[in-house]
């Protein structure tokens, strides 16, 4: 499944990042690399973006970007 499909409170391990170029680089720079644990904290009041916890801090990203990140629950 993808990070986008995860519900608040759910955790998982990142499998792959289906992006390329600068955006993938950015995602990885922020600590989302294969094998890392992520936990969905909440969804913004208007339904997008989402807030996740990764490597001990909170990161927000849009669902559009979350949909490219493959995770294993």
């Amino acid at each position: 499944m993808t990070l986008k499909e995860m519900k608040p409170g759910q955790s998982g391990k990142v499998v792959s990042i289906g992006e390329s170029g600068p955006l993938k680089r950015r995602i990885m720079d922020m600590g989302i690399t294969p094998g890392v644990d992520v936990k969905v904290i909440k969804v913004a009041p208007l339904g997008d973006p989402v807030e996740i916890n990764v490597r001990g801090y909170e990161l927000s990203l849009r669902k559009e970007e979350a949909a490219r990140i493959e995770v294993q629950a």
């Binding site: 990042i17 600068p22 955006l23 993938k24 680089r25 950015r26 995602i27 990885m28 720079d29 922020m30 600590g31 690399t33 294969p34 094998g35 890392v36 936990k39 904290i41 909440k42 913004a44 009041p45 208007l46 339904g47 997008d48 973006p49 807030e51 916890n53 490597r55 001990g56 801090y57 909170e58 990161l59 927000s60 990203l61 849009r62 970007e65």
Partner: protein
């Protein structure tokens, strides 16, 4: 011996706090060439021989944003004597990612482990000695907020700078990757490139910025090395990032003892649950915005019937300035009329315009830096992103646009909080479209006199809606055609909530005010004097005709005969398609650029056949003595000398006389034309003060000119549509 020490670190790692601690008020704020990123320099307050350079906060040294390119170019090319890498101990893994990249450049480095108080409060333990042993550079635990550990940090930094200690090479990458890097490094060494180790990694990462700096031949051969080891199309970029994080995970395991495992809820998380709560987030946000607005622009602060701190301070400044102006006027009273006018109406007025804005800017900036530093600004973007993304903006654009309803100057200055340069440019343009306080008198005059039989509230209200709709359309168009290539994603850290220190907020506010007074001030001052000259002089001023004809020997003339009137005649035909192609409305547009309410003041001067002494006396005769006093007549007694000013600023500003300026109807005949005139003034270039602020934010005259051109074209096209389409219905 003098040293330059650079501060590097992630955003929100406490870098600015440390910088303020180290330099006190001895700092210079400028801009990095070509980009709107702050360049801050200062000297260490304990040793004037040490220069401190504050690099922009970045997560990485990849060429993803202007900030990252600046930080890495500075480290690699300018080669500071030492870099202090500030690591936020509460999110150590992500912070060490930048650390590894800084160490890779080979610059002498000291690591400052910041927020150690929070780390301890969480029950975590970070072994500074262990980290120092692993990385081979000094690691000093500090708490930047209260200055703990800073002396030790600086002592280590000076030591490192003196010794020019290059960090050792770390076993970050696996054998295969390191082998490939070594092969690439050898190619670079053979070609005589400097910083070969660092460039080798960057080339393997497909870093376009570095690729552009080496020869095609070299690039090709490095590509071949990568292909030999990994096959074609290999994603070395991902491998590098991945292996760095893997290495960090090992380091953290060795050096950090977590008090609890897994994700624990902090106080900040609990607060966040309320502030970004599904139901409460938007109402709380509305209250925060209301408070922000109330503290700066409101004339009815929190419904208490008193002025907001911003307006209150502005009032004090204005009355002091008024007193000073009277004093100066007394001093130059004996001089020739034009000197008197230059000093009083030109110089003092121009300086007064700048000073009047300073309290607003100060209050706004103190509040905005509080929102920014405490972490709420990131949540605003998080909550509003969904809405603003549709218009090609980010959630943070809301604050400048809201400020625009009060005054364009703080609105434009608030664009500083936007992260992307594209958003900043677009929002700066849009801020000028908002119906600021000074545009209201124009609406009041027009609606009260030219829309007598219409629903006047609706007409005024429709202008507000108009400005928002135009802003949305222009934003979409600019995104599509002008600023096409801006990164549009929303990968953003939501930092922990922290109460910022008063010191850092005050320093921040002071910096902005200083910047405004100097940069924007020059634009305001020069343009005010220019308009003063154009409105009070004509060719006869210089050949003695005026002096001979006037009673007091003044070389100045009435505005009706001035250069300004001639300019009005020349540009009037341009406005013909908009329905107001006459010289007097045209002059109104021009004088409106000093301050928008000047449109009304100018009209009262230009349509002087409608504002005769007899008319004024007759008009004010309907008021009782108390009402007259309220309008501004001393002791409630009619005074012919004061009547003109009171009529324009007390009556016309409020739309109080529906029979005012009947000759205006000869120039602006239809309702469509009247609406077009209001729309044109609403959307065209804002006042010079705002343009000065735009220049300050956009940096170059070219960008400022481009922004003003967009505003002018928008105003013209929209007003034209209003006049043509409106002409069919009204």
């Amino acid at each position: 011996m003098s040293y330059t020490i650079a501060l590097a670190g992630n955003p929100n790692c406490g870098k600015t706090t440390l910088f303020n601690d180290l330099t006190g008020s001895r700092q210079r704020v400028g801009n990095w060439p070509g980009v709107t990123v702050d360049k801050k320099e200062g000297t260490y307050k304990k040793d004037k021989g040490i220069n401190i350079m504050d690099l922009p906060g970045t997560y990485s040294l990849s060429p993803y944003s202007a900030e990252e390119i600046i930080a890495r170019d500075y480290i690699v090319k300018e080669k500071p004597d030492a870099v202090i890498d500030i690591v936020d101990g509460t999110s150590i893994e992500r912070n060490l990612y930048l650390t590894l990249q800084i160490l890779e450049t080979g610059v002498p480095t000291v690591i400052a482990l910041n927020m150690m108080d929070e780390v301890e409060a969480r029950g975590d333990k970070i072994g500074a000695e262990k980290l120092s042993e692993i990385f081979g550079v000094p690691v000093v635990p500090i708490v930047a907020r209260n200055g703990k550990g800073i002396l030790e940090l600086m002592a280590e930094a000076v030591e490192v700078a003196k010794g020019k200690k290059t960090p050792k090479k770390l076993p970050v990458f696996d054998e295969k990757l390191q082998g490939t890097i070594d092969d690439a490094k050898k190619l670079l060494d053979d070609a005589g490139e400097t910083d070969s180790q660092w460039k080798a990694i960057k080339l393997l990462e497909n870093d376009e910025n570095i690729a552009g700096q080496v020869t095609e031949e070299l690039k090709k051969r490095v590509g071949e090395v990568a292909e030999k080891a990994y096959g074609s199309g290999a994603d070395l970029e991902a491998a590098v990032a991945d292996q760095r994080y893997q290495y960090i995970a090992k380091v953290v395991k060795d050096a950090v003892k977590k008090g609890t495992t897994g994700h624990v809820e902090t106080k900040s998380d609990k607060l966040d649950k309320i502030l970004t709560n599904r139901i409460l987030a938007l109402p709380i946000f509305a209250v925060v915005m209301y408070l922000l607005f109330a503290c700066t622009n409101s004339e009815n602060f929190l419904f208490l019937g008193i002025n907001s701190p911003g307006i209150w301070l502005a009032g004090i400044v204005e009355s002091i300035w008024g007193w000073l102006t009277d004093l100066v006027a007394g001093l130059v009273g004996g001089a020739s009329p034009w000197v008197y006018s230059l000093v009083v109406d030109g110089i003092m007025e121009g300086l007064g315009a700048i000073l009047g804005f300073i309290p607003l800017v100060l209050v706004l900036y103190i509040l905005i830096s509080f929102l920014e530093d405490c972490g709420y600004m990131a949540r605003i973007a998080f909550v509003l992103d969904r809405i603003f993304r549709r218009f090609g903006l980010s959630g943070r654009s809301f604050i400048p646009l809201l400020q625009g309803f009060g005054c364009s100057v703080p609105a434009v200055m608030a664009t500083r909080t936007l992260e992307s340069e594209k958003d900043r440019k677009i929002t700066t343009i849009l801020a000028g479209f908002m119906p600021c306080g000074a545009k209201l008198p124009i609406f009041a005059l027009f609606v009260s006199t030219l829309f007598v039989d219409s629903n006047q509230t609706l007409v005024t209200y429709s202008l507000y809606i108009f400005s928002i709709v135009v802003a949305i359309i222009v934003s979409l168009l600019l995104n599509k055609f002008v600023y096409k290539d801006g990164a549009s994603n929303f990968i953003m850290e939501l930092p922990q909530y922290r109460i910022p220190t008063l010191k850092s907020i005050l320093i921040h506010g002071w910096e902005k005010v200083k910047g405004f007074a100097v940069k924007a001030g020059t634009v305001i001052f020069v343009s005010t004097i220019l308009i003063w000259f154009l409105s009070g002089f004509n060719f006869d001023s210089f050949n003695g005709t005026n002096a001979a004809e006037s009673e007091d020997g003044s070389v100045m003339c009435e505005m009706n005969d001035s250069f300004m009137a001639s300019i009005g005649n020349v540009i009037a035909p341009i406005f013909k398609p908009l329905g107001f192609g006459e010289w007097r409305p045209a002059v109104g547009v021009v004088t409106g650029w000093i301050a928008k309410e000047n449109v009304v003041v100018t009209f009262a001067q230009l349509y002087d056949e409608d504002v005769t002494d007899e008319y004024l006396e007759e008009y004010f005769a309907q008021y009782s003595s108390e009402e007259l006093e309220e309008l501004g007549f001393e002791d409630g007694e009619y005074d012919a000398e004061a009547a003109g000013d009171i009529y324009s600023e007390g009556v016309l500003f409020e739309g109080g006389d529906e029979n005012a300026l009947p000759h205006m109807k000869d120039d602006i005949k239809t309702k469509a034309a009247a609406y077009a005139y209001m729309v044109f003034n609403l959307l065209c270039m804002p006042c010079f003060a705002a343009v000065g602020a735009m220049k300050r934010e956009l940096k170059t005259w070219k960008e400022t000119g481009k922004a003003v051109a967009v505003q002018m074209v928008t105003a013209y096209v929209v007003a034209l549509l209003v006049n043509v389409v409106g002409g069919l219905f009204l």
